[in-house]
Symmetry: C2
Subunit: 149 residues, 2 copies
């Protein structure tokens, strides 16, 4: 029903940055999540933990929580599943027995040896497809993430 109220201001949802970011992130993540799940049987939280372990060697839950945009409970649950799959192992930190030390098992190491080159190829493919726009996207995201917006 058309009202006789004053017209609303113009607003372009497609030009609204939070909307664009949400759509872009959803598409990108879904594509990747499908690959991780189908090929390796892991979720995105599990992938983040594995990457951090591949990079940092031996870390605690707290280390990951602080660096990988995950809550403590998420890290803990992801780690539990990864242990059940035999991809990571855990032992006590003798210096502070509240802390755990997590690391890749040989099986986890082998999987990451397959997985990481694929992720690098995916990133490279993205860069190729976006061409010059890729560097601009990076600069924009850098500013957004740095300013805690």
């Amino acid at each position: 029903m058309t009202t006789d109220m004053p017209p609303l201001p113009e607003f372009d949802l497609y030009g609204f940055t939070p909307y664009r970011l949400a759509v872009a992130a959803k598409r990108t993540s879904e594509e990747l999540a499908r690959q991780y799940r189908d090929r390796f049987g892991i979720s995105i939280p599990e992938w983040r933990v594995l990457v951090h372990l591949a990079h940092s060697g031996e870390v605690s839950v707290r280390d990951i929580e602080a660096r990988v945009a995950m809550e403590k409970y998420e890290v803990s649950r992801a780690a539990k599943r990864l242990r059940e799959e035999g991809l990571i192992e855990r032992r006590e930190n003798p210096a502070d027995r509240r802390l755990v030390i997590m690391s890749l098992t040989p099986k986890g190491h082998a999987m990451m040896a397959d997985l990481l080159p694929m992720a690098k190829a995916h990133q490279q493919d993205l860069e190729n497809r976006l061409g010059l726009a890729f560097r601009k996207l990076e600069v924009g995201l850098e500013a957004l993430l740095k300013d805690q917006i």
Copy 2:
């Protein structure tokens, strides 16, 4: 446990574009979702439907589904809640009685008259905070969204 396997390739999660997009979108959406909820009592799906109605006047579920990155059931559920709040109304399309015609009520119109300027101000604030990086982000997102990556 350090293994004697060949070292894994370097991989920087913080430089991985899907990760950065996910973190950026999450932060941006959460901030906004809180504002919509606290000030207007609506969710993001409801907000998307309202914006589309404010812009397009009278539309069907199908119209919104096609244009606002939402599934049919999401639109339908959001519309139901908005009707219950008295923000939108609905009637049958006489030309095709399977279609509904949704439009803002005066109450919904009044709310959007408050809400849209706030969204515009938020967008403007984002642009100001990002400065030169804003246009680069836009170019990057444009390329990403256009190429269906």
